[in-house]
């Protein structure tokens, strides 16, 4: 177990390191002078020169990368060109909104996904199964930003039940959570159904039935426990995706989260903010995935020995 943990941790660190290289390279890959890009197109030559020396852009690339990485590890991600505020502070100010809708979405996706997945598996090849899987496939294929608009049209504009944009009250979270959680719910539902069908055909369930256990106990105690192990890995992976997917949903509902911060930074060419938000979201994604893998290994001993 310790060996697996160490290997997975090393892989995550390597991915983080490569991510930092990628994010650092962004500004150097854009055609033109990086100092001019960071200073903004309006800045005078003296500001550009000051930024060049402040950021060390006149030093060799490896040294620049070293100080970028050192800064990132200390939480210093630079200053936003647009607002003049520290990048990390802006990200941390906005992150609670993104985390709120992502957490809500994953809870919704897990509850509905596992529930409908079990329902479909129990009614394998019957109408209930087919309808559930059509709904799941639709949820997977529908673009979140369109689903958001449709939910807004129905619940806010037509029925007047929920607020449409902004994030001023708990009611404002309902539509973004529904929008963000739908696709993951569909994926988890299909995964749960497949895993349940796989488990339902196995001998130990026949043995449990032969021992006279009730059908309820067979499903809940024996089948579900085993079926949920592969589902767990998808849940973690989805959570990472939800944080990134919030970029689109936050734009639909005008939520001032990290995703919206990134899109605005790109539109405003606020390069320190682009680098900071990308590094933050990607690091979170990698760490959540690594955490999921470790958890997966804890509950399923077969994983530790494999590979």
């Amino acid at each position: 177990m310790l060996r697996y943990l160490a290997r997975r941790l090393l892989e995550a660190l390597l991915a983080l390191l490569f991510t930092s290289v990628l994010v650092f390279s962004l500004i150097h890959l854009i055609p033109g002078d990086p100092a001019r890009l960071v200073a903004g197109l309006e800045a005078g030559p003296e500001v550009v020169e000051r930024i060049r020396s402040d950021l060390g852009l006149d030093r060799p690339l490896p040294i620049q990368y070293g100080s970028f990485l050192g800064g990132a590890l200390r939480g210093e991600l630079g200053t936003s060109i647009r607002t003049g505020l520290p990048v990390l502070r802006e990200i941390l100010d906005r992150f609670p909104y993104t985390l709120g809708i992502a957490l809500g979405a994953i809870v919704l996706a897990v509850v509905t996904g596992i529930g409908t997945g079990i329902f479909a598996a129990m009614r394998h090849n019957r109408v209930g199964d087919a309808l559930t899987m059509v709904a799941a496939l639709l949820a997977v294929s529908t673009p979140s930003y369109w689903l958001g608009l449709m939910l807004m049209l129905l619940f806010s504009l037509s029925l007047g039940l929920l607020p449409s944009i902004g994030i001023a009250s708990p009611a404002h979270y309902v539509l973004p959570i529904l929008t963000l959680g739908a696709q993951s719910g569909g994926i988890i539902s299909r995964m749960t159904r497949a895993a349940m069908l796989d488990v339902l055909g196995q001998d130990f369930l026949r043995a449990a039935r032969a021992r006279g256990e009730t059908e309820r106990s067979v499903i809940l105690r024996h089948a579900l426990g085993n079926a949920l192990i592969p589902v767990l890995s998808i849940v973690g992976l989805r959570f990472g995706n939800l944080i990134a997917g919030a970029v689109l949903v936050e734009s639909v509902f005008a939520i001032p989260g990290v995703g919206r911060l990134l899109v605005d930074a790109v539109l405003w060419r606020d390069y320190p903010m682009i680098q900071g938000t990308m590094l933050f979201v990607a690091a979170l994604f990698i760490l959540v995935n690594a955490g999921t893998d470790v958890l997966y290994a804890v509950v399923d001993p077969r994983i530790r020995g494999s590979k």
Partner: protein, 271 residues
Amino acid sequence: MRKAAFASALVIGVIAALALLAPAIAPFDPLEQHLENNYARPSLEHPFGTDDLGRDVWSRLLFGARVSLGIAFASVGLALVVGTGVGLLSAYYGGLADAALMRLMDVLLAFPGILLGIAVVVVLGNGVENTAIAVAVMSTPTFARLVRGSALSILERDHVVAARALGASAARVIFGQVLPNALTPIVVASTLQLGTAILIASGLSFLGLGVQPPYPEWGAMLSKGRELVRSTPVAAIAPGAFLTLLVLSFSLLGDGLRDFLDPRERARDVV
């Protein structure tokens, strides 16, 4: 499943035909503004109404299909060529080249798709071609990993081992033995990836980072949806409905092709 795949192929065929014939069948110029007739409700003249600038939504949908499908095919084609090349080289030569290429692919896979797309747009700028490149960069690791996996198992087969033992060149083994045998998963993955490519490309355009106004693209059309949703809901509903239909069709067609081309996969069909 087979019926669903046929229906999906039909839907994709119809949308592709509409896209190809757009200049001939679109009733209006998709860029032509008629401000005096903006936010018009659906009518015989404008089946899906008009947008805020008085442009005919149906004509924009038809031309938008050209852009959305064009980006999807171009990006998946590019990713297919590069990814397959990387996968084949990795599997055939192994060693350091394999390790380095696969770590690079892992890093790209470790980046959420939309974020990687945004990163490429930051570097290259927006527009149709750059959106296609952004989606291609995102899709390449999927093909590289898949092809490498298939190629590794094909390289172990007796007929390939025999060909190599007889002194067949690398090109002959790769193109004569490995690639033809790896085609099934590549075809299936390409079909499934087309749906993902459409979603990501239109997502970038929705955010204002992909295809730029005034050009019609379904995602870009939806970015106006919040303004249109109050006045002419059908103008906000239509592009998304077409997008969903197309993505769903590629997904069902991919699943159907997998069942048809490789029945063994049916047992392993998970998601």
